[in-house]
Symmetry: C2
Subunit: 563 residues, 2 copies
């Protein structure tokens, strides 16, 4: 009789035999799946014919002389094995069983190891780990805060931190010089597959280092992380690409650089084109760009229509295209082109026999979104993306500000503490959108895995920034006075970065969902299915916190039923 | 001209001289305290007569050729130096300046190092670091929860965890086998000097290990921690003392074992004593105990009266005493003793010439509180406590339950998941207060620095425990159903411990206040003086969270003014 005995390290086959097992055989007979056992026996080599080459322990077995059942088990609601096809909500409800599956164990182990490597590296570079508060102050800038009512101070609230940003800057003011923390952060936003209400970032801040020294140090950190977790040797230096170039060539501020298929701009060529929509878009300040889908010239009309539907999801009103067949441009719009335009487009896009040219004409954002998404889709479809490659790059020179059409004001592209480029300072008053930030993102295979900036460290510049964001001096001081004050007491130049640990682990472990990297994740509706949180609480708890529910429990439900 | 230039590593003297400094001299002349400088120069040996032996860099100076002022500074509100005598609230408001003081830097560095040692040790023992949620479920047992209203689920709340207790047990159910986390925990309690609303514990859980294997491993961890942080060599094994013995001998469940002065019980001797209060207390089931304050027999009446006042703070209604002078017992109560009683007391307490015997007669708790406090006070006063010694001990065999007179029910002494001693199981139904728990605290110099237990891992025992705590089966399942369910799917025997990191760092760095070990602590009224949190929030934030304030802002204040 055989039992596959599993612990964290793997599986071993234990054998019961009347020859040596005695009473243990009787007990073993009652053992069912997922029972917890303690066994005693002799490790022996298996007979040649029973060797299992698919198991690391496949050449061994353990001949059992004694067994104790430490705990029994009901039949689990799903099989404890990899690749199990079961509804995710069932896996989350029984997460304690799901975690027993080898791929979950492997991912949590990888995550633990990754944290250790971060820590060891930063420790070696003389960083100090400092814990910053979780109960902190609500900040009007940025995403929505999770709030915590105060019992001691009636009507007042703590907020959970969206990041330790201000605390880490104050640590630099405090002379800590090199700080890190693997920090829990919180954003009360509507969730997508790659967001969680609470997430973990490796938070780093340094004084006195210039940008390139910091980025080079972080490259060494990534090299060590990837070498020691997945054995991948990252080439250095990482590619550096400005935000403007990334948007122009790849239609994305987090380009997947594992493949080409760069976008090309055609404004100068088609400004007076017979394709009316091209000409009119350009007149209105928009853009016409083209993606050369190499070798897709033979795709069917249906295939191309499907691309059009896909492009529509990213805001495209239509998708113009040209196929290169038998040496000629083919397609409905070709007849509106002049010979010269065709020649110029051909040269600019490098169009060759069998290519498919896809055009987007719209405002800059839509063009980038549409062609950026098409580029990724087609790159994937053409097999241009090597899943075994990790391709890092730095995206630099982000704009400092963008204009929020809804709020009718400038907002910080990164955050309000990002230092503007010194040479752009005078643009603050004349052309704020042109001011570039000393900000940088680190992107990996099309994901943003981190980002940071050099920070403002002088009060007058910080005030200029708050002013640009529409904060009156009084409001600015009311909300960030402690920081403005701090900058007047000898603040060193400083800057830092934060890595998204969940996302890095997701990419390292080749998962596609952040929830797979977190032991006890929340669902897309921010629910913990295992513990059933959030949940109603006792009235007395609310009274102690000086709050009331806006609606009675259940009132919401009734309203919905009546609607 | 000299400037003491400081960075995280210390101070160095930089020198400006017309001979080599050029224009730098002019700039240096404008430098004030706490300015941030970048300097270039040559490191040279100082002349013999200018060597400063109090400074690690005292034999060197730097002759400056170039200087840049990176940032200026106003005059700080207090001196940036150790031992600064300034109101703590000012230090907390300007924490970024306070953190520049060498002793704060040293403490934060020590804390970072301690965390690293914990992690390295546990990593070496094959523990996996797993992060558990901060947004979790409110638990009716234990201290008061911090609550977080849910935006998505109207009328429902998350709670911040008082500890990751249940999650770490579920990780054991999930086959993680060895888990640790340096975890932030939250308790909304009224604060004392050694409490913070958020605190950090090194949280550890293991499967399959028995108690002694775990405790021995933890001893090795402490040995390494103390060796590598403060160079103190802890003797092992640590002393082990049962809860009953600790209460009896030291009047405390966290005895300071650096000195003796043990309490002795006198019930049998004084049960029929002429000292009426002794006899009546014993009759009522109370206790009479004595502390022999060695060598305090010469203390004045005033000194002894002061002890009485001190004892009163711990609940003593009076403090009976006897001095041993000229070979005889002296004091107001001596006349009520018989010769035999005097002889017996003398023998039991080891009273000698020059000793002072202090008596407490009351219920067990008051006697322990009073004599325990007197023991510490007198031990300190007599110089019996060596501040350079770290004396660890394990306190074991805590009672599982205690009786809450207010709630009129049993409550868990440790927590509801603690495993009872196997041999005490039958006492559950007959004499619940006699059931001992497989729980242990680790105490250091009179502080509890950690605690843990072997956990219940079978559903029937857990149900028995909930039942003892007065939870109906329905309520128990409603609140802890996920755990009861989990125990039915093959849960291994498990147990763990948690160390209070803040307190350990406090003791390692010989501070007396937890706030000194935390970069950004809260005050005793749970306020962050630096950021001014908690604070009022916008109405729209409350609306989104489906809550209202119970009182209008300011209403509290008005009520107080009217009162």
């Amino acid at each position: 009789m055989f039992i596959d005995l599993r612990d964290r390290s793997g599986i071993v086959q234990v054998v019961f035999n009347p020859a040596y097992s005695g009473e243990a055989l009787t007990t073993a007979d009652k053992v069912r799946s997922e029972y917890v056992l303690s066994v005693t026996g002799t490790v022996v080599k298996r007979d040649a014919e029973t060797i299992n080459k698919n198991l690391p322990t496949g050449e061994l077995e353990v001949q059992i002389t004694d067994i104790e059942v430490l705990n029994g088990s009901k039949t689990p609601p799903f099989f404890i094995e990899d690749g199990v096809e079961v509804d995710e909500s069932l896996r989350l409800k029984y997460r304690y069983l799901d975690l027993r599956r080898p791929e979950m164990q492997k991912t949590l182990l990888l995550r633990s190891k990754a944290s250790k490597i971060f820590r060891d590296f930063l420790d070696g570079e003389e960083f100090i780990e400092v814990e910053t508060p979780i109960l902190t102050k609500s900040s009007p800038e940025g995403a929505r805060d999770y709030l915590v009512p105060s019992r001691v101070h009636s009507g007042e609230f703590f907020a959970l931190p969206q990041s330790p940003q201000i605390y880490k800057q104050l640590l630099m003011v405090g002379g800590i010089e090199r700080y890190y923390q693997i920090a829990r952060c919180f954003r009360d936003e509507d969730l997508r597959a790659d967001r969680q209400p609470e997430f973990t970032q490796v938070d780093i801040e340094t004084s006195f280092l210039d940008r390139d020294t910091l980025l080079n140090m972080m490259e060494r950190l990534m090299v060590r992380l990837f070498r020691e977790t997945v054995g991948f040797e990252l080439p250095t230096p990482f590619q550096r690409i400005t935000h403007a170039e990334a948007m122009s060539k790849y239609g994305s501020d987090k380009p997947d650089l594992r493949f080409g298929l760069e976008l090309v701009e055609l404004n100068d060529i088609v400004a007076n084109s017979g394709v009316k929509v091209f000409a009119s878009v350009i007149e209105k300040g928009g853009e016409v760009k083209c993606l050369n889908a190499k070798g897709c010239g033979t795709w069917s009309r249906k295939d191309i229509d499907d691309l059009g539907v896909f492009a529509g999801r990213y805001g495209a009103k239509g998708l113009a295209w040209i196929q290169v067949k038998e040496g000629e441009f083919k397609g409905p719009i070709v007849k509106f082109f002049t010979e010269e335009e065709i020649a110029a487009v051909k040269e600019r896009t490098g169009a060759e026999e069998g290519d498919l040219l896809l055009f987007s004409a719209d405002n800059k954002k839509v063009v980038a979104d549409v062609l950026g998404a098409l580029r990724l889709k087609i790159g994937r479809q053409l097999g241009l993306i090597d899943d075994n490659v990790f391709k890092f790059a730095w995206v630099t020179d982000f704009p400092l500000l963008s204009y929020d059409e809804d709020a009718k004001r400038y907002v910080a592209e990164h955050h309000p503490f990002t230092r503007p480029n010194d040479e752009d300072l005078e643009l603050f008053d004349t052309d704020p959108l042109k001011v570039r930030a000393q900000a940088y993102d680190i992107v990996l295979n099309g994901y943003e895995v981190g980002g940071g900036s050099m920070r403002i460290y002088k009060r007058d510049i910080q005030e200029k920034m708050f002013n640009a964001l529409g904060l009156s001096p009084e409001d600015a001081y009311d909300k960030f006075g402690y920081l403005l004050d701090a900058f007047e007491y000898g603040t060193p130049p400083h800057g830092g970065i934060a890595f998204g640990l969940d996302r890095l682990v997701m990419l390292l472990s080749k998962r596609t969902n952040l929830r797979e990297t977190i032991a006890f994740p929340k669902t897309a509706s921010a629910t913990d299915l295992l513990m059933d949180a959030p949940s109603p609480v006792e009235n007395v708890q609310l009274e102690q916190l000086h709050i009331k529910l806006a609606k009675k429990p259940g009132e919401d439900k009734k309203e919905k039923e009546n609607a």
